[in-house]
């Protein structure tokens, strides 16, 4: 889960990384700004980038001005996301903006520090045009962050004598955030050197591993669900499915029992000019009632006409799938249909169950290409 700035800040503060003083304000709340220093900045909290350009970040000189701007920002919608929280933070006057992140390096199988003496919003551009200015250092997970990492990063960036111990402490603590909170990414940008020469984490982006969250971080798990606005995502989650919205114009949906086959199915139908509205991954071992529930989540979306259920049972059993499809078929709207491809464990038992489906809205196919043909025919696609 990608945490919004105001939550990422909390995780940094939890490990004693200095952050600007600030307050989070929700709609309807009378903001108490007594401990906010001005001038300050009001920042819209939305789960997307580019909010500055969208007018979601505004400077304010005093509490009165802040209150007006907060009201304004809380009414905005940025890239489709209504602003549900505004963050008011003191403005940090910096001498220099650095970039510091710890990322899970999938290739090398270790956490890797990414650092640049030129931070800020242009970091990607800088990385592209001056790749040497971006410095990488791997962290051996059994050893963790040591002083030599800091020395190497500052040395290579030409900042050798710049706040060595402050920087080292922040790096150590950011690694603690990363490791203790099971992050895939813990990014501070900008890490500001302020006018007194102190380092402060002005903005942060943190991505927590969802699997670890489920097992180790129930606090974040509750938070995740409280922040989710898409009822379908929540409903799917409750059933341990993964629901992903894809193309708003899509008239079909896809369900499968594994991300690989889901992706292959999407690719095949996309080639026929049939983008998916949304897709649902059942994961492994779903039972009949949960499967019916999953189909419901997909088919209740207005404008959706067809479902491609592409199942190749391993740990998921075909009889459970068939029973789920049978139940779900009863509740389809007129004109809606399911193209079902059923293979794998307990296939004969599954097919037997399907023979008793009463309504004529389930089409059984043998393979992916055949399924694409059925959709093309029924929906007039390529």
């Amino acid at each position: 889960m990608l945490l919004m700035e105001y939550l990422a800040r909390d995780l940094l503060a939890e490990k004693n990384i200095p952050i600007p003083r600030g307050r989070v304000v929700s709609p309807g709340e009378t903001p108490d700004l007594s401990d906010v220093r001005f001038p300050a900045v009001v920042k819209a909290q939305v789960p997307t980038g580019g909010r500055g350009k969208a007018g979601g970040i505004l400077p304010v000189m005093n509490a009165k001005e802040a209150k007006a701007v907060i009201q304004n920002i809380l009414g905005m919608t940025i890239k489709g996301f209504p602003v549900e929280r505004a963050l008011v933070v003191e403005k940090i006057n910096g001498k220099r903006e650095l970039y510091l992140a710890i990322l899970l390096d999938r290739g090398r199988k270790c956490p890797t520090v990414i650092f640049s003496a030129s931070g800020g919003v242009e970091i990607e551009e800088i990385a592209r045009t001056k790749p040497d200015s971006v410095i990488r250092a791997e962290i051996e997970p059994t050893v963790g962050v040591r002083e030599y990492h800091t020395r190497y990063l500052l040395d290579r960036a030409g900042l050798e004598e710049t706040c060595f111990f402050q920087f080292h402490e922040i790096l150590e603590n950011l690694y603690r955030v990363f490791w203790d909170r099971d992050c895939l990414l813990a990014e501070i940008n900008p890490l500001m050197i302020d006018e007194e020469g102190n380092l402060i984490a002005v903005d942060a982006k943190i991505n927590v591993d969802d699997s670890a969250m489920t097992i180790h971080h129930s606090d974040l798990l509750e938070l995740r669900d409280s922040l989710e606005r898409d009822e379908r995502v929540l409903e799917a989650r409750k059933n341990k499915f993964l629901f992903i919205p894809v193309a708003a114009e899509g008239r079909i949906t896809i369900m499968s029992n594994g991300s690989g086959m889901l992706m292959a199915s999407m690719d095949a139908l996309q080639q026929r000019g049939l983008p998916a509205r949304s897709v649902l991954d059942l994961g492994g071992g779903a039972t009949a009632d949960r499967i019916a529930k999953g189909i419901g989540i997909l088919m209740e979306q207005p404008g959706v006409e067809g479902l491609f259920a592409n199942i190749f049972g391993g740990i998921t059993r075909c009889d459970e799938i068939a029973a789920g499809v049978k139940t779900a078929a009863e509740s389809l709207r007129d004109g809606q249909f399911i193209v079902l491809r059923l293979e794998g464990t307990n296939k004969p038992q599954g097919r037997e169950i399907l023979q008793s489906v009463s309504r004529n809205n389930v089409v059984l196919v043998e393979k992916l290409s055949e399924a694409a043909g059925v959709f093309a025919e029924r929906m007039g696609a390529v």
């Binding site: 899970l104 990414i114 990607e124 592209r128 992916l368």
Partner: protein
Amino acid sequence: MSILVDENTRLIVQGITGREGQFHTEQMLAYGTNVVAGVTPGRGGQSVHGVPVYNTVREAAEQHHADATVLFVPAKYTFDGATEAIDAGLPLVITIAEHVPVLEMLQLYHLARSRGVRLIGPNSFGVISPGKSKAGFMAHHIFSPGNVAFLSRSATNCYETVLMCSQVGIGQSTAVGVGGDMIPGSTFADLLPLLQDDPQTEVIVLIGEIGGDEEERAADCIARYVTKPVVAMIAGRNAPPERTMGHAGAIVAADGTGSAANKEAALQAAGVHIAETTEHIVEILKKIKR
């Protein structure tokens, strides 16, 4: 031959008394797998489909000279179960569960390597050497013995392809679910040399996905060591782009690593046949076999 498992493999099933453990132990026994023991803490002394159950992996391994284990335990117990198996000295550890925390897998990855243990999974269907043995939950009736090896990040795409292959008479030497997670216990590049050295394997199929750089590393490995023909498919060209790794993600992916296009280009440069769909894989295999 074949790799990892065969008729001599002496397999332990961890979590044997659970719903999935019981069902798939029965399936594995039916397929002919030599399941020598099961492990469930607190259930020592029981038996499941005639297989004796122990409280600890070490005891099961010692009593039955086991040389492989498959974990039918939930994600939250995978780290403990895998470390127990590694510590018990088993040279092959296969983990099935999905949603294992990434940093736990990171630790297991390095631990397995330092102990010389072959770790497969997580989020894997397991390993099958058709006609000999299977350790995992794959629907075995679609497999048939032969000379094409499969390494797949996706279970379902692998089944899909294998089914079509078996239907046209193209059998398999071994199929390994390397698993779809960010940190697989064994990568394509770890397993390719075994297949290159396996006399039974004549052609290798890689089923990859977008994200990470396992396919790029596989391409590098193939260019250097693999002389057998390789066919690869990358799933996910039309998946919505991942936007969760911040600037750092963009920085590390600045060279294109992780995209389907990049992976296909790297593999192609290494002489690999690129398939666009699972059906296309089978067509290419037919041409190669002809």
